[in-house]
Structures are given as structure tokens and as C-alpha cells.
């Protein structure tokens, strides 16, 4: 009788224990699930931001490289312009001058007219026919 009672008591104790264990494991499972969900969500978020920033950086680097190339091109253009000026100044000495005295006299007259016209226009506006002789 006493043994049967003890057995019953033991069974109840084991059942109670198992119930407790189930509750504890359910809690652990719930907590772990919540934790993993949180970790997964936050990790993805951080990674996405880093990737986005890296993409922004790559774009910025690309733009810098393009700007660098443009500066090099601009530098090259300056050098070309300098070279062209040197060449044009050099070729400026190859002017054709007439040998005929009458043609030379005509050229001189043109030149004088131009000079007087320029100085006249500098000194006196709307002056017609005086060739700057004021």
C-alpha cells in the first residue's frame, strides 16, 4: 500500500518535472528564436548600409578619375596652344613683300592709312577723312 502510494507520488513528481522542463525549453526556444531573428535582421541592415556606402565611394572614385583625366586633357590643350603660338610666331616672319617700288609705296601708304586710322579712332571718334592728323 505504502509502496503503491510512493510510486504514484513518484510518477506525479516526474510528470511535474517534465512539465516544468517543457515550459523551460519553450521559453528557451522562444528567446533563441527572438534573438536569432533580431541578429539576422540587424546584420542584414548593417551590411546593406556598408555596401551602399562602398558603392557611393566607388562612384566618387570613378568621378575623381574622370576629373583627373579632364585636367590632364586641359593641360595637354595648354601645351598644344603654346606650341601653336610658337609655330605661328615663327611663320609670321615668312611674309611676302613686293619688290616693285610702286607696290612698296602703295603698301606703305596702306600701312600709314591703317596706322592713322587706328590712332585717329583712338583719339577722335566719328572723324572722317582727316586720317588722324589732328
Amino acid at each position: 500500500m505504502h509502496q503503491a502510494r510512493m510510486k504514484l507520488y513518484e510518477r506525479r513528481r516526474v510528470r511535474g518535472m517534465l512539465k516544468k522542463l517543457k515550459t523551460v525549453f519553450a521559453w528557451i526556444g522562444g528567446v533563441l528564436l527572438a534573438l536569432f531573428t533580431y541578429l539576422l535582421a540587424s546584420r542584414n541592415k548593417t551590411k546593406a548600409e556598408i555596401e551602399k556606402t562602398k558603392q557611393g565611394l566607388e562612384k566618387a572614385q570613378q568621378k575623381t578619375n574622370e576629373a583627373n583625366q579632364e585636367v590632364e586633357q586641359a593641360e595637354q590643350k595648354i601645351k598644344e596652344a603654346q606650341k601653336q603660338t610658337d609655330e605661328e610666331v615663327e611663320h609670321a616672319k615668312d611674309v611676302e613683300v613686293p619688290n616693285d617700288p610702286a607696290a612698296v609705296a602703295g603698301a606703305f601708304n596702306d600701312l600709314l592709312e591703317r596706322i592713322r586710322g587706328k590712332s585717329g579712332s583712338d583719339k577722335q571718334q566719328d572723324c572722317d577723312g582727316c586720317s588722324g592728323r589732328h
Partner: protein, 93 residues
Amino acid sequence: MDVQDAIDLYRYIAQLEAENKALKDGLAREREATQNYINKTDELTQKYEEERLAWFELEKQMNIELQDQKVKTYKTSTIALILGGIIGAVVSD
């Protein structure tokens, strides 16, 4: 002054005129090219500044992630410790 002197003088003047014109044209071209160069250099400086800011932002993000990882590690360790304590308590009961 004879005719040859006049011819030489005219040649000299014509050469000077042509040289003057070439120099003026060249100066205008070089000025334009230099202005273009200055503009491009300004743009480059701006792009470098943007790149610097992008690097700064990346550094910031990486520091945030590092900090986040640290926090996660601490959290996991704490939770594992608490769980271990609970399980140990249940088992020893």
C-alpha cells in the same frame, strides 16, 4: 633712303605686324585654355573632397558595424550565461 631700304623697312614692319597678330591670337587661345584648366582643377578638387567624404562615411559605417558586432557578442554571451544558469538550476532541481 633708297628703294631697297624702304622694302626692308616694310618687310620688317610687316613681320612685326604678323608676329603681333600671332602673339595676340596665341595669348587669347592660351588664356582660354588656362581658364579651362583652372575650371577643371576646381572640379577635381571638388571630386577629391567628395571622395574624402565617401571614405569618411565608409569608415563611420564600419565602426558602427564593429560596435554592433561587439554588442551582439556581449548579448549572446550574456544570454548564454543566463540560459546556462537556468538549465543548470533546472537540472540540479
